[in-house]
């Protein structure tokens, strides 16, 4: 338990520092959505709980953690592809450009199909892959700007104002709440 609390606190401090530095430099890559650690920590927890994974089943937990963050890999592709554009115009207010259709409704369709196929083989695996992915995409839809029915419709949707302070508060709150829940979950094994 003390190790868990220490790790959670350290993770929180690192995230805060990172967000602070990025905000200070006014070039935050996190300003349009939640940070990857927040996605991982929340998505993986809900995936693990839904699939009734015991804390000893570390392989499933690891898969859930990877699945919670894997969706953010598409940003890397767009950063490399459109690096010139981001260098000239900055990242603020333009992160939705760095999202592929995997973040939108087509992504939900694909992950739904993957989950259905995997469920014939291993239901737990299907859930630890699918739930963190769905949670990640949902969080990004709520906190950022999305074009849900791309490529058929390019209308963008936005719920909350794209301001760094709000994002930081939500991000830190999610990390704190889910770190606490992870500690409770891991501690239940003892």
């Amino acid at each position: 338990l003390p190790l868990g609390i220490t790790l959670a606190c350290k993770l929180l401090i690192v995230t805060c520092k990172l967000l602070h530095i990025l905000d200070k430099n006014n070039s935050s890559i996190y300003n349009q959505h939640m940070s990857t650690p927040a996605h991982i920590i929340s998505g993986a927890y809900l995936g693990v709980i839904t699939a009734h994974i015991a804390p000893s089943e570390t392989n499933y937990i690891l898969i859930a953690l990877v699945s919670g963050g894997i969706l953010d890999l598409d940003h890397v592709y767009y950063f490399i592809k459109d690096w010139k554009y981001y260098k000239e115009n900055g990242f603020i207010g333009k992160m939705h450009r760095a999202r592929s259709f995997f973040h939108e409704m087509i992504g939900f369709f694909l992950i739904g199909a993957v989950m259905l196929l995997l469920s014939y083989y291993d239901t737990k695996l299907s859930l630890v892959i699918g739930i963190p992915y769905i949670i990640h995409a949902t969080e990004d839809i709520i906190m950022g700007k999305s074009t849900p029915f791309t490529p058929f419709d390019k209308t963008s949707i936005q719920f909350v104002p794209q301001n760094m302070k709000l994002k930081t508060i939500v991000d830190i709150s999610v990390i704190i709440i889910f770190s606490f829940l992870w500690i409770l979950y891991l501690n239940a094994a003892k």
Binding site: L116, S119, S126, L127, I142, F149, F152, D153
Partner: protein
């Protein structure tokens, strides 16, 4: 898509019943998005709870909130394309949260297949301006009420 998709005539009696009750609805908020987000956040709880009565209560409230977002948009003259897209998108996400935990059961697999069909219908609605949807959450609520749940 320039205009809002029209609903299928198959849903006529169901829509008629809702339209009759709509004037009696009380809205604490004028913004329809508030009901959509509340409905979605409530849907996340489907992942956590498996008790039949809790699920019935959660699903009922979710469906009422889903109804209220459209009703609020009509009442306060806020019907717009973005609102329609939000409604459809959140319905699909809510279904994902509802059916994911039962995907290991035979009927859960059927629901998952119909869920994929619903996403395809959503895309079709955007392209053709004709709103078709399978009322999966309502069917699941009936299954829960009549104690035919698959968990």
């Amino acid at each position: 898509m320039d205009t809002l998709p029209k609903r299928s005539k198959v849903a006529g009696p169901y829509r008629y019943a809702l339209n009759v009750m709509e004037p009696y609805l009380v809205f604490p908020f004028k913004n329809p998005d508030v009901y959509s987000i509340a409905s979605l956040l409530l849907s996340v709880l489907f992942l956590v709870f498996s008790n039949r009565f809790i699920l019935i209560a959660l699903l009922t409230v979710t469906l009422i909130l889903d109804w209220m977002d459209g009703a609020a948009a009509r009442r306060f003259k806020k019907t717009r394309k973005e609102g329609y897209l939000i409604d459809v998108m959140f319905d699909r996400i809510s279904e994902a949260f509802l059916f994911a935990p039962i995907i290991g059961t035979p009927l859960g697999k059927w629901f998952a297949m119909f869920y994929l069909m619903n996403i395809a219908f959503s895309f079709y609605a955007i392209i053709s301006s004709k709103h078709y949807v399978l009322a999966l959450r309502f069917i699941y609520l009936l299954l829960l009420v009549f104690n035919l749940q698959m968990r």
